[in-house]
Symmetry: C2
Subunit: 151 residues, 2 copies
């Protein structure tokens, strides 16, 4: 993970579809060298994949929210089961198992507030391991696509 690798990672985070040639040119190395580095980053698991970023509105999902959930009991089995169940739901974008008063943070995106309400009462209230939950509508958000190494 030298300077060249970091630069490749940075560039591919910014634009994963740029050609290997332009990438090589930007970094001042031969295309063949660049290609080999990219493949190594893949094999080492540094690069986990390439994904298109899609506007949620185009997918009819303009409303986003975080739902904090508390479970009982917070055993491995309950946690794993709940995590898998949430992740399988189409409304769910991401699932986070966290420390603190709440055990879970579930990131959801839905077509409307009605849909969100339905999600809460049909998919959460239903489950017996859920003791309480609280939802936070997302008014505005900003996510980074390029993350630099720290230290």
């Amino acid at each position: 993970m030298d300077e060249l690798d970091s630069a490749i990672v940075r560039e591919l985070q910014q634009d994963a579809r740029q050609t290997n040639r332009s990438l090589a040119q930007k970094l001042g190395v031969a295309p063949s060298t660049c290609l080999e580095r990219v493949r190594l980053l893949h094999r080492r698991g540094v690069v986990r994949g390439y994904h298109a970023d899609i506007d949620p509105a185009a997918l009819n999902r303009p409303v986003e929210a975080f739902v904090s959930v508390q479970l009982r009991p917070p055993s491995r089995q309950v946690i794993e089961g709940f995590k898998a169940a949430m992740f399988a739901l189409p409304e769910v974008l991401a699932v986070y198992v966290v420390a603190g008063e709440q055990d879970f943070l579930v990131h959801v995106s839905v077509p409307s507030l009605d849909t969100l309400h339905s999600f809460l009462i049909d998919r959460l209230t239903q489950r017996r391991e859920v003791t309480s939950f609280r939802s936070q509508i997302i008014y505005d958000s900003a996510r980074k696509h390029v993350v630099a190494p720290l230290d």
Copy 2:
């Protein structure tokens, strides 16, 4: 946004680097057709970009957390200023302006618990608009890369 567009969006979310030819073959259309559709999705803003997914551990950021922050006063100016200030910090992955008791949810990733602590006391406690905050360490997470349209 017909069936073909949806299929393209699905495929490009899964693998943004696949060739236009293989994409066209999977969907049963000519490469030229496929290319034109992809460009249109771009121009319409449906596809916002293509990004490599990088292992946080490789960037020396194995510890992740959500920090909920409450601001005073929750005016537009304070919110916008805080949002911009957080987003500019290298530790921050994403910023969410939310409804509820807390006003902000800040997703951070750092090299260690020490670094997280430093972040909290140096970057948050410092700011006078921050009245309180609470951090939730992320034990485990799962994020979807392919999101389907709802309804």
